[in-house]
């Protein structure tokens, strides 16, 4: 019964990978900006800073001001990553050591809970509601369900089919909407870091320059 679903997951993952690569190539297709003004700093140092210290609460006001949302987002992402890890292991035929199952289930359930909390926040906060398109709700619901079902499947393996079907839908949907940020997050942050690094703004002068 699960074998065709495993194949469907593999096919959906291939679709997701292919279309995400397409998105990434599309972005790259816009071409690089050749800069003629001499640099004041090091773009590579700016990129390193952007991916590390610049994301921490003491460097980022938005994190300091919204620590619960920030933490919820991290838990949501962590749960989702673990669920994807479990999906890969399941399709590859690896058995999760039984001792890990409860921890994995807790992380994924927490992730799903965090996803739900973010969904409630989106609905309950007027300006977030105003910002949202259907994609924001669908992306959240799919990811949250995927994480929640992954956790439930660990405890009740007979529900695996439902989880795998959700995984297929999620993977097919992945490149369509905002979940594509799994790729463009890295390029956006790198471009931003390189920009401020080139201009000598990153790393922050507070880092002791």
């Amino acid at each position: 019964m699960d074998q065709p679903l495993h194949l469907a997951v593999i096919a959906a993952a291939a679709w997701a990978a292919g279309t995400l690569a397409w998105v990434w190539l599309g972005v790259r297709g816009f071409g690089r900006r050749v800069l003629l003004a001499p640099p004041a700093g090091d773009p590579a140092a700016g990129v390193r800073y952007a991916f590390t210290a610049a994301m921490l609460p003491w460097a980022k006001e938005s994190v300091r001001m919204h620590l619960p949302s920030y933490a919820t987002g991290i838990v949501f992402h962590l749960g989702t990553f673990v669920a994807f890890g479990l999906l890969a292991a399941t399709v590859a035929g690896f058995e999760l050591p039984p001792a890990l199952a409860p921890t994995g289930a807790i992380v994924m359930l927490a992730g799903a809970g965090a996803g739900l909390a973010l969904l409630v926040k989106r609905i309950a906060t007027p300006f977030l509601r105003g910002l949202s398109s259907p994609d924001d709700f669908i992306a959240n619901l799919l990811t949250t369900s995927f994480g929640a079902l992954a956790a439930v499947t660990l405890l009740h393996p007979q529900l695996e089919s439902a989880w795998l079907i959700t995984a297929v839908v999620l993977l097919v949907y992945l490149p369509v909407g905002k979940i594509r940020h799994c790729v463009v997050f890295f390029s956006s942050r790198a471009y931003m870091g390189a920009f401020f690094g080139y201009r000598g703004t990153f790393p922050s002068a507070r880092q002791g320059r």
Binding site: E61, T125, M192
Partner: protein, 450 residues
């Protein structure tokens, strides 16, 4: 001339297509990534001084980005073409043009504070600049902002000051300088061939703040600098092409500086205290002109820092006893990378220096950037948005706010009145000139004696 509203109503399909083409032509991979990346988390909202002072949806940076991204998705992405409603894609039509105009001209100073606070790291101002360029291509730059650019193109300076008035002002200031220093040899050189430094100023200085030009001149005099001003175009450092985002016009204005350097044979172009002037000349100019400068360029803040560090000038901080705080102009600091020279200079020149919180690259925009000071239609929003800076200033308890930017100074002076801050607003050079301990250069060696 027809109003902006009338011009939008009269837009033809061909003009809309042209606007979209110009928008597309301004995008590179970075902007394309940014336009695909927003997750609508809303965490950028509080980073924007517009939202902080008026918490409305239209003031959220992501909302402003969304108007631009919606058209991008609709016209340049597969998902946006196939399932536009699902992903929030919308066509580039008159309604969209209105939304762009209101967002990128009317509610944004291009300050970039949201970029640093964005969950993803989206460089929102880069995207907004592309949108402004599209509006400029459709003739939809607010008239007063465009008039400022036109002044530079026609008169060589943004306030249409005649050469005669400029030269008269410089000569009058030279006499003042001689009186102030007691040195009849103190000069404010005009068109000195082969001078090391060509110093450029904001036209607001000769027009409204001559003492700040005199202060810079006094510092140069004390340092024994080999410097000059230009009498012909090339003396004005401003470039509102940075704000109307018409790169061709911005390039022509930058060319004035390059021409003056070549005409006078100077080796270092020194940009006076002006955030956007520095950003334009230092960072954008070579891109607009598509060539590297054949000369050095620095900010006068870096030069003053060098004078003090090397001992070329000396200062006595007790001559500036009042508590002083420093405003960080966005185009000089966050986007310009110059944050420390002015601090080192002030720490030496004033007795009591207090930082604003937040400061440096995290500083709040004063609200006057992005060309806002030139756009009367958005004045109320500008003053309200400046409320964040007013709060910051008040919290320092400072009596003097130093702003190394004449645009910021204008805005801060308005905020001073509006929010009854009871402050004085000065340039860095004014503080240094006040604190100078020097007998001026000896005629024989042209160097400072202290």
């Amino acid at each position: 001339m027809a109003s902006l509203e009338e011009r939008i109503d009269a837009l033809t399909e061909a003009q809309l297509r042209h606007g979209l083409e110009v928008f597309r032509s301004k995008l590179r991979a970075a902007e394309a990534a940014y336009l695909n990346a927003c997750v609508h988390c809303g965490l950028c909202a509080d980073s924007c001084h517009y939202y902080r002072t008026e918490p409305a949806l239209e003031n959220v940076p992501a909302r402003k980005l969304d108007h631009v991204a919606a058209a991008f998705k609709r016209h340049f992405t597969t998902a946006g073409r196939l399932v536009p409603r699902l992903v929030g894609a919308r066509p580039f039509d008159r309604a969209m043009v209105r939304a762009w105009l209101d967002s990128v001209f009317g509610r944004c100073t291009l300050c970039g504070r949201c970029s640093l606070n964005c969950t993803i790291g989206i460089g929102l101002p880069r995207v907004f600049r592309a949108a402004r360029a599209a509006l400029a291509a459709m003739g939809l730059v607010p008239d007063d902002l465009q008039a400022t650019v036109d002044n530079s193109l026609v008169h060589g300076n943004n306030m249409a000051i005649t050469k005669e008035d400029w030269v008269d002002t410089v000569q009058w200031l030279e006499e003042e300088l001689q009186m102030e220093t007691g040195d009849p040899g103190a000069r404010i050189p005009l068109d000195k061939q082969g001078a090391r430094v060509l110093f450029t100023v904001n036209p607001r200085e000769p027009k409204f703040f001559p003492l700040s030009l005199q202060a810079s001149a006094k510092v140069f005099w004390a340092a024994g600098e080999d410097w000059t001003l230009a009498s012909d175009p090339g003396w004005d450092l401003t470039n509102y092409g940075l704000f109307n985002c018409n790169d061709e016009q911005a390039g022509r204005i930058t060319q004035n500086l390059v021409d003056a350097m070549e005409r006078l044979g100077c080796t270092t172009l020194v940009i006076g205290e002006c955030g956007h002037g520095f950003g334009s000349a230092r960072w954008e100019g070579p891109e607009w002109l598509q060539r590297r400068y054949p000369f050095e360029l620095c900010s006068v803040l870096e030069l003053m820092d060098e004078y003090l560090t090397s001992g070329r000038i000396a200062v006595d901080p007790s001559r500036n006893p009042k508590p002083v705080t420093l405003h960080d102009p966005c185009n000089l600091v966050r986007h310009g990378g110059v944050s420390e020279p002015q601090r080192r200079v002030l720490r030496r020149s004033v007795a009591h220096f207090v930082e604003m919180t937040p400061s440096r690259e995290q500083s709040f925009c004063c609200g006057g950037g992005g060309g806002q000071l030139a756009m009367a239609a958005y004045k109320d929003r500008r003053i309200r948005a400046g409320g964040m800076k007013a709060q910051q200033i008040r919290a320092t308890g400072a009596e003097i706010v130093v702003a190394p930017c004449h645009n910021c100074i204008d805005q801060l002076m308005e905020l001073n009145k509006e929010y009854t801050l009871g402050i004085q607003v000065k340039t860095v050079a004014e503080m240094v000139a006040e604190a100078l301990v020097t007998a001026g250069p000896s005629p024989s060696e042209g160097k400072t004696t202290t």
